[in-house]
């Protein structure tokens, strides 16, 4: 664990957070009547597109793992596998547009990040998401953001039955909001946690 690595991680997280915020605000300048609560589906699309684009770019630019040689067969197969996993993570969400968009968002926050960092390698996934399995700060970051996103989505389901009659209490808006807030929280928590436990982490990486 090096200072530079942590700094890079912080920058990446900052960029990701900005992209989420940007996705919530920027479309207002292009689209009339855009707001997160008013046109949630547009926001969902914007958010997933911006975050996934940024993730891919970040992965290419300051990726933690050296990218495989371009154009090679393994690369192509890996890319196809990535797409397949990404699609698989939607589950049975194709039944309705709402659910589908929510699945896309959640997959962007979780599966896509994993794919970018770990690649289509099931064993690595299993390793990272188990106790003492994270080998680098990137793994730790991944762990925390993913768990936070899923938890946020889970908690987002709780306001749905309440009778407050608020526009965001509808499936899947509250869950999407929860996932987004969870993701943002994860982006903030992860560097802090790494900073907190840096001694332990340096010990482990040896």
């Amino acid at each position: 664990m090096s200072e530079a690595g942590v700094r890079r991680l912080c920058a990446a997280n900052l960029l990701r957070g900005c992209s989420v915020l940007l996705a919530a605000t920027a479309p207002r300048f292009f689209l009339d009547g855009f707001s997160v609560l008013g046109t949630p589906l547009t926001w969902l699309c914007a958010c997933s597109v911006s975050v996934s684009a940024l993730s891919v770019v970040l992965n290419a630019a300051l990726g933690p793992s050296p990218p495989p040689r371009r154009g090679s067969l393994a690369h192509k197969v890996g890319f196809l596998k990535c797409c397949m996993y990404f699609l698989m993570s939607f589950g049975r969400a194709f039944l309705s547009l709402n659910t589908f968009l929510f699945a896309v968002l959640l997959s962007t926050f979780t599966t896509l990040q994993c794919l970018c960092v770990l690649g289509p390698n099931i064993q690595a996934w299993i390793r990272v998401f188990s106790k003492n399995g994270a080998m680098s700060i990137w793994d730790n970051n991944l762990q925390i953001t993913t768990v936070c996103s899923v938890l946020g989505a889970w908690f987002g389901a709780f306001p749905i039955p309440l009778d407050w009659d608020r526009p965001w209490q509808v499936w899947p808006i509250s869950c999407s909001l929860g996932a987004t807030f969870g993701y943002l929280a994860g982006l903030i928590i992860a560097p802090l946690w790494i900073h907190w436990n840096r001694k332990q982490l340096t010990y482990k990486s040896r």
Binding site: I122, I126, R127, S130, N132, I160, P161, L162
Partner: protein, 925 residues
């Protein structure tokens, strides 16, 4: 509310015109001369009803074709619910109402009385239903063009109880006061004309009528029910009779003389006061004895439940201590409690007081709880002392405790969510969806935790991931498939939900209606086939499982029952469904036959289920023993006759050969020890008995439900099976962890909803009372039992099946490829067969077995009791009268679950006894 005096039209039918809320249509169908109903269900719709009324109101008033006009406006109420009282919408609504009143007052005739009344107020949030000042106070406005009050109306408006509206309006309309009304007429409205004396006489007349009606009601009521105190009733009657007497005298006096002396006026005033006093006191007496909460008892009851929950928790957290400890900690307090009850009973008998069973039993419970806690506390310091004497032990246990904390926190958090959800009305309404969500979350959390702890992978160094992947795949994919199956079950079970009245857009599940109501013959046949297929699948699955465990061998009565009784039961149920679903379009000649069949088939099922349960209770051991011990008898079976031909040798030689082979094999296997008994199915003897009992119960409950819910029952069995397998894979034996208990009970509540029930009265399946009975019951007990069994079907099944949580990991212990699990006797060789012991491990450690069973029961009771505690606590908070109904269901479910839990545990203990007897018989042989 507009109204016209109708005394001129006595003898003719009243012309009642109604406009507004369509709830009245259901309450008083076809009672109105004319009616304009508007949909009222949608609380967010502020204008439909009001605008509809306004459209018709003025023309109807002007048309004059009415004696009583009722206009039920809903906008203000809905606006309160939606926006609250201080909202611009509310201002608009109130302005609209004001405008309506102004217009209406202008159009009223001279002989019309306008009464504007609200049925309730609202809180600051715009809701109502509680008993706060703001909610129970409502406005009453009475207007007439002819002056109503002899004097000027009082500055400060008078407060009138709402019950007074009934007698007042009834007498104004010229109809009798409703029998059970305890209101007092508003006398001011009856003193309209003439001088003071005649006005007072008129008022006396209506008071007289009113008092007579109340008196009659109280008399007949006190004959039926004893809850009104007799002394007060006597006092009331005294007041009444004296007032009536004086009234008669006065009337006679006035008719003779007609004076208007101040003395008479004073007498009139006194008499009026007396009637008033009578009516008010009567109302007060009724209110006192009818709306009687006993806060002390409620608090005491809550405290008892809380203490019981704590007891369950503490006792279940005790380490598996020796038997004597349990005896001292649990049995002795029980005796204490009994002693306290006896003492209390004796005291009551000595004091010549009525023995209140409730008080006595709760005192007994309290005393025994105190005794338990005292003993438990007495043990605490000792433990602390022993821990301090070995500091390393203490630190280890502390660390372990810290590590165990999250393991406890997750399921407890889910339980907390479940209990906390009851605080919110919306969550109570949506509970049918909340419970499956929590169940799925809990199981997902469990699997996530297992993965996180690395229990799904083979323990090894982190560098050897490639090696680990294979073993991971095999084990954990299996678990993941199980989780997927569980989620699928949860998802599918949502198809069987009933609706609540609070959600008008919800449509009840298609599967809840009986097949007989289906018009389409083809759909009916298809559904019928599906139901029968579910039945057959249930029977086959259970038989297959029993065969897999080796409990379907031999000729024990229970085994024979499973072989032949189960299919027979299925046939009977299917026949009953066939007859019931086609009962209506059968031919006239066959009608009698159909009636006979409608009674005969259910009774056949009841009888078979009863016989089966008895059989399981009497001979629960479904073990097939193959004795291969060397017998003292001859090697070759004696063959009668002369051994002369080749055939005889052919008979003898194979026997000798087989015998030699067997003895050689046993010598090789046993190392010369020889004697062995192969017992098929011994390893799952406990669970087999439970599974058989559960299946029998399921048949009974299936019969009570409508046909298509058999699919839900199939799902129930599937989900329970999957849950058991998940827990069997995820835990260590001899202790059932909290998450298992909580998920099991969550599944029970989930299937309460998924068998088409809701905790509301309209959703009860009353038809269940008439399965096997032809529309007549001599007692109330039997239909109550049937409806109760129908309502709490899933509670019963899951509670009886609760001991399976303890047994299943032992059942699943053996490798699944092995078809028949054999366990060898005699006892001296137990160590050799360690890997096939299964449930016999429980017999190895009877102390731990009983302790584990006890702890399982306590954990279940704790989880059930926590929900009770929350609901009981809710009842004490004001505003929560609406929870009473829910509490009723929950409390009944709690009682049913607890009793069934005890029955299930008793069944396991009965099997234990039977297995002991079986062993001793085997040793005798």
């Amino acid at each position: 509310m507009g109204r016209r005096f109708s005394t001129s039209r006595v003898g003719e039918e009243e012309r009642v015109v109604f406009m507004g809320d369509d709830t009245w249509e259901g309450l008083f169908p076809k009672m109105f001369h004319r009616s304009y109903f508007f949909p009222s269900f949608n609380v967010k719709d502020l204008h439909t009803v009001d605008n509809g009324i306004l459209q018709h109101l003025y023309s109807t008033v002007d048309g004059g074709e009415w004696d009583l006009l009722i206009a039920h406006f809903l906008g203000v109420d809905h606006c309160g619910h939606k926006h609250g009282p201080d909202h611009p919408e509310m201002a608009k609504k109130l302005l609209q109402m004001n405008e309506m009143l102004r217009t209406l007052v202008e159009r009223l005739g001279n002989d019309t009385l306008l009464v504007v009344a609200g049925d309730h107020g609202m809180t600051d949030t715009g809701d109502h239903g509680g008993d706060s000042e703001k909610e129970v106070n409502a406005a009453l406005f009475v207007y007439s063009k002819t002056p109503l009050f002899g004097t000027d109306p009082p500055e400060e408006p008078e407060v009138v109880p709402q019950v007074n509206l009934v007698p007042t309006l009834a007498l104004l309309l010229g109809v009798p006061i409703p029998y059970s009304s305890i209101g007092e007429v508003m006398a001011e409205l009856f003193a309209t004309d003439g001088d003071a004396v005649s006005a007072a006489l008129q008022q006396l007349d209506v008071y007289h009528i009113n008092a007579n009606q109340v008196d009659r009601f109280l008399r007949s009521y006190s004959l039926v029910a004893q809850d009104l105190p007799t002394e007060e009733l006597q006092q009331l009657q005294d007041i009444f009779s004296s007032a009536v007497e004086e009234h008669a005298q006065l009337v006679a006096h006035v008719q003779e003389e007609k004076p208007s002396s101040p003395e008479l006026q004073a007498r009139l005033g006194r008499l009026l006061g007396r009637f008033q006093r009578y009516l008010r006191e009567a109302r007060a007496v009724c209110a006192r004895s009818w709306a009687r909460f006993r806060p002390l008892r409620m608090v005491a009851g809550c405290a008892l439940i809380a203490a019981s929950c704590l007891l369950c928790y503490v006792a279940s957290a005790l380490p598996a201590a020796p038997d004597s400890f349990y005896r001292s900690c649990l049995l002795a307090p029980l005796l204490w409690g009994l002693a306290a009850a006896l003492l209390l009973g004796l005291a009551c008998a000595v004091m010549q007081e009525g023995l209140d069973l409730l008080v006595v039993s709760s005192w007994a419970a309290a005393v025994s709880q105190v005794a338990f806690f005292w003993r438990w506390w007495g043990r605490q310091p000792k433990r602390a002392h022993s821990a301090s004497s070995h500091p390393p032990v203490a630190s280890i246990s502390l660390r372990q405790r810290l590590q165990a904390c999250p393991a406890l926190a997750f399921p407890m958090g889910i339980l907390l969510f479940r209990c906390g959800a009851m605080f919110s009305d919306s969550f109570v309404v949506a509970e049918a969806r909340v419970v499956p969500f929590l169940l799925a979350s809990l199981v997902a959390l469990l699997v996530g935790k297992l993965h996180w702890d690395g229990r799904l992978t083979v323990p090894e160094g982190p560098r050897q991931q490639l090696l680990s992947s294979s073993s991971y795949r095999k084990e954990s994919w299996h678990l993941l498939y199980l989780v997927a199956a569980l989620l699928l079950c949860v998802r599918l079970s949502a198809a069987f939900h009933q609706c609540r009245e609070e959600s008008p857009q919800c449509r009840p599940s298609l599967f809840l209606a009986p097949l007989a109501g289906l018009r389409d013959a083809r759909a009916k046949n298809l559904f019928y086939l599906a139901c029968v297929a579910a039945l057959v699948a249930l029977v086959c699955a259970v038989r297959r499982w029993l065969r897999h465990c080796g409990n379907l061998n031999g000729s024990e009565p229970a085994v024979l029952f499973v072989r032949w009784g189960f299919p027979l039961l299925a046939v009977f149920v299917a026949c009953y469904w066939a007859v019931a679903s086609s009962a209506e379009d059968s031919l006239g000649k066959l009608q009698e036959l159909v009636h006979v069949a409608l009674v005969a088939f259910p009774w056949a099922v009841y009888g078979l289920v009863g016989a089966g349960l008895l059989l399981v209770l009497c001979k629960p051991v479904t073990v097939f023993a193959k004795d291969t011990r060397e017998t003292a008898g001859p090697i070759v079976t004696p063959y009668l006759g002369v051994a002369s031909s080749e055939v005889d040798f052919l008979h003898v030689i194979p026997q000798i050969y087989r015998r030699m082979q067997e003895s050689l094999k046993s010598h090789l296997e046993r190392g010369g020890c020889g004697a062995a008994v192969a017992a098929y199915g011994l390893g799952s003897v406990y669970s087999a008995a439970l599974v058989i009992a559960l299946t029998l119960l399921a048949f009974l409950l299936l019969l009570l439900h409508s046909e298509r819910l058999s699919l839900a029952f199939l799902l129930l069995f599937l989900e329970a099976f999957v849950l058991l397998h998940i827990h069997a894979r995820a835990r260590k034996p001899f202790s059932v962890p909290w998450y298992a208990v909580i998920s099991w009970l969550l599944a029970a509540s989930q299937f309460f909803y998924s068998t088409g029930h809701q905790p509301i009265f309209p959703a009860i399946h009353w038809n269940a009372a008439f399965v096997g009975f032809h529309l007549d019951h001599s007692t109330n007990l039997l239909p109550a039992l049937l409806v109760g069994a129908n309502t709490f079907a899933s509670h019963i099944l899951f509670a009886v099946g609760c001991p399976l949580l303890l047994l299943w990991p032992f059942v699943c212990e053996a490798p699944s490829t092995q078809r028949r699990k054999a366990r060898k006797e005699p006892r001296e060789e137990l160590h050799e067969e360690e890997e096939h012991m299964m449930e016999m491990r429980l017999r190895e450690a009877p102390d731990r077995f009983s302790a584990a069973l006890l702890q399982l029961g306590l954990k279940c009771l704790f989880v059930l009791g926590m929900q009770q505690l929350v609901l009981a606590g809710m009842l004490m908070v004001p505003h929560c009268a609406c929870w009473a109904r829910r509490f009723l269901f929950e409390a009944l479910g709690f009682v049913v679950s607890s009793v069934c839990l005890l029955l299930g545990i008793l069944l396991v203990m009965r099997v234990d006894c039977a297995v002991s007897a079986w062993f001793s018989r085997l040793q005798l042989r």
